[in-house]
């Protein structure tokens, strides 16, 4: 399991190759890359700055990966999340998962992103032509994360 928080960009191909290197059990690699969009909520994004909580961030990401390992039959997982100031089209986050078959890899990758979006201590601040503003959390992210919980059983 590898979790990294860094300002530098990442090379997804190289990271994926390293993730599955030497493990011929791997039959599936699922990946997600999040990138900076140029328009958010009707405003043009000039820059996006990512803040995080040093001391908690890596720990939170490791806990999310550990949770994924208990839920899904995967071999390994990688999360790289950038912080600092980014521009439209820049890469923000890479999540990669290896497993024997695609079902577990796809599900684990989605789970990791849904939990990262609602539990990992990062905050985005956009600068637009109208000034700087903090990005609001989305209800859809909470809904996505909630879908991984078992439905409550009515009494």
């Amino acid at each position: 399991m590898t979790v990294r928080v860094q300002t530098d960009d990442f090379d997804a191909g190289r990271e994926i190759a390293a993730l599955r290197a030497g493990d011929a059990r791997v039959g599936a690699v699922a990946t997600f890359i999040g990138t900076v969009r140029d328009v958010n909520d009707a405003a043009h994004v000039v820059t996006l700055t990512l803040e995080h909580y040093p001391g908690m961030t890596e720990q939170a990401l490791e806990a999310i990966v550990a949770e994924a390992r208990t839920r899904f039959d995967i071999f390994d997982a990688l999360v790289i999340h950038r912080v600092g100031t980014l521009a439209p089209a820049d890469q923000i986050v890479l999540v990669a998962v290896t497993s024997a078959h695609r079902g577990e890899a796809f599900d684990a990758c989605r789970f990791l992103m849904d939990y990262l979006k609602t539990r990992a201590p990062f905050w985005k601040k956009e600068t637009t032509p109208q000034g700087a503003r903090w990005v609001d959390a989305r209800a859809s992210d909470d809904e996505a994360a909630a879908r991984w919980e078992p439905p409550s059983v009515p009494r």
Partner: protein
Amino acid sequence: MPDSRNSAITVHLVYLARLREAFGRAGEPLTLPGADSSVAALLAALRERGGSFGLELATGRAVRVAVNHALVATDAALRDGDEVALFPPVTGG
């Protein structure tokens, strides 16, 4: 032996993202009387300051709390020396 359950405790507050800007500081120590040293009591104590604290921590405002780097609910108990971070809902990824 003194009863430590009712001793005052001091926690180290950390404010992140938009809350840091609203409160005008990155953090501060806070001493709570020992009778109720829960996260809820800490939030109530901060709310009493009024101003941006009263506004941002009002009932119904979405504030997340982490104690020693773990997310907690507002009924969580606090101990002397704890690091308590207050922050808006996260927006990473």
